[in-house]
Symmetry: C2
Subunit: 225 residues, 2 copies
DNA sequence: GCGGCTTTACTTGTATGGAAGTATGGCTTA
DNA sequence: TAAGCCATACTTCCATACAAGTAAAGCCGC
């Protein structure tokens, strides 16, 4: 019998932290934007302390920088950090794809097919947020299918950097292109062709290498390095 | 002309954080150990607030858990987290090794050879800490050689979990074995044989798969999952 | 002896005031 | 006009007090 998991009621600080993190990832808070303990505290009706602690956690996520006596700012998107994160994802997901190609777990492959359908619908309706979430689930299934779902959580911090970029760059063309590449990956996995799956996956993730410069030129004030 | 990089004086909170993190990684603070804001504050002569903020950062590193109204504890070593971290490292370093094998940057290869000498000396003198540090530098050179040193920083959080295990498991036999495997890797890199380098590296990192169960049985109270 | 309640000593969470550092705009002075 | 000083209005950091929840020891009644 499973024991129920007892979770303590979320503290003010952690709620503020979650709220800020979501806003940063969605691009609602722009890179370089200034935050103020006092201002947010007044806004939500608490003292400065919980807000301050939320800032510390946000800095721990790499999404903000606290400069003593000067102010707290949303981190700009570091080009080199994005490139590193991308390289890591490519390496890890390649290995995961090879594992799946040899095991071909039916339920996971079916779930991936379903996500692709989901992405088609989201694309038709131009629902950007839903598309991104399904895209995330598709890649998460790679880890789950290989029996290493925990890997995905470890990459959370890295993905945070890439997610901000994705919210900036997502266009209708990109979505259609992404779906085609997902199909290529899944076809190779279902065929049990590890080499083809790895190639398709690396191609897919290298897409970002062409998007990054485009966005960096378009919104240079959002980037560093 | 390079401008000097201005770093603000380290705050009390960040100093406490650094201190705690080092102690956790060296195994000085055992997994499951209890921490107290008040106790540490009195010990170092400050108020609870900076200590508390150091706890928050430590929790962000995945090295502690703050349980509201109950206490703060050093995280136990999560078996699944270690396995995930290992899998990620294997995937990433394999790719890095392949890059180096094709480029063969002379200075980096020489530096790696030097680190191996360093490791031999540390092994002779049974200097565990020095050995581990050199081991770290050896692997870091993989990233640097491939022109992606930033990757290594991104893996810092993952390595933190593995480092604690390494401090628990390090024996004279392991050190000698590690050195031999480092030589295998470097030989393959210098020969420009990407496949051999990848094989040697994966073999090396899979060593942990045999060490983990041994330690987990020996000190079960340090582990979860 | 033993189950259950109460007290008490802890824990972390939040509020608030002041200290110290930084940036900015305006004034002074040449 | 322009350079330099200075007051002022911020910022984060730290200290302190109090609030609220937890856990364990001890007492009480049976």
């Amino acid at each position: 019998m499973d024991s129920p998991v007892i979770t303590p009621p979320p503290s003010t600080a952690s709620q503020v932290h979650d709220w800020l993190r979501r806003r940063v990832q969605r691009g609602d808070l722009a890179p370089g934007a200034r935050l103020s303990e006092t201002e947010i505290a007044n806004e939500i009706g608490t003292s400065r302390q919980p807000v301050r602690e939320a800032f510390i956690r946000l800095a721990g996520d790499g999404l903000a920088e606290v400069r003593p006596q000067r102010g707290t700012y949303i981190s700009k998107i570091s080009v080199s950090a994005v490139l590193s994160a991308r390289l890591i994802r490519e390496a890890v997901e390649s290995d995961l794809a090879r594992m799946i190609a040899t095991q071909r777990p039916a339920r996971v492959l079916a779930a991936m097919r379903e996500e692709i359908d989901h992405q088609r619908r989201a694309d038709d309706r131009a629902e950007v947020e839903a598309f991104i979430e399904s895209d995330d689930r598709f890649h998460r299934l790679l880890a789950a299918g290989a029996g290493h779902e925990a890997v995905w959580n470890d990459l959370e911090r890295l993905k945070a950097q890439m997610n901000r970029l994705r919210h900036l760059s997502m266009r209708a063309f990109d979505r259609a292109h992404t779906i085609r590449q997902h199909v290529d990956i899944l076809d190779a996995l279902e065929a049990g062709d590890a080499d083809a799956a790895e190639r398709a996956l690396r191609t897919h993730l290298r897409q970002m290498l062409t998007e990054l410069p485009r966005i960096a030129v378009q919104k240079p004030e959002y980037f560093t390095e």
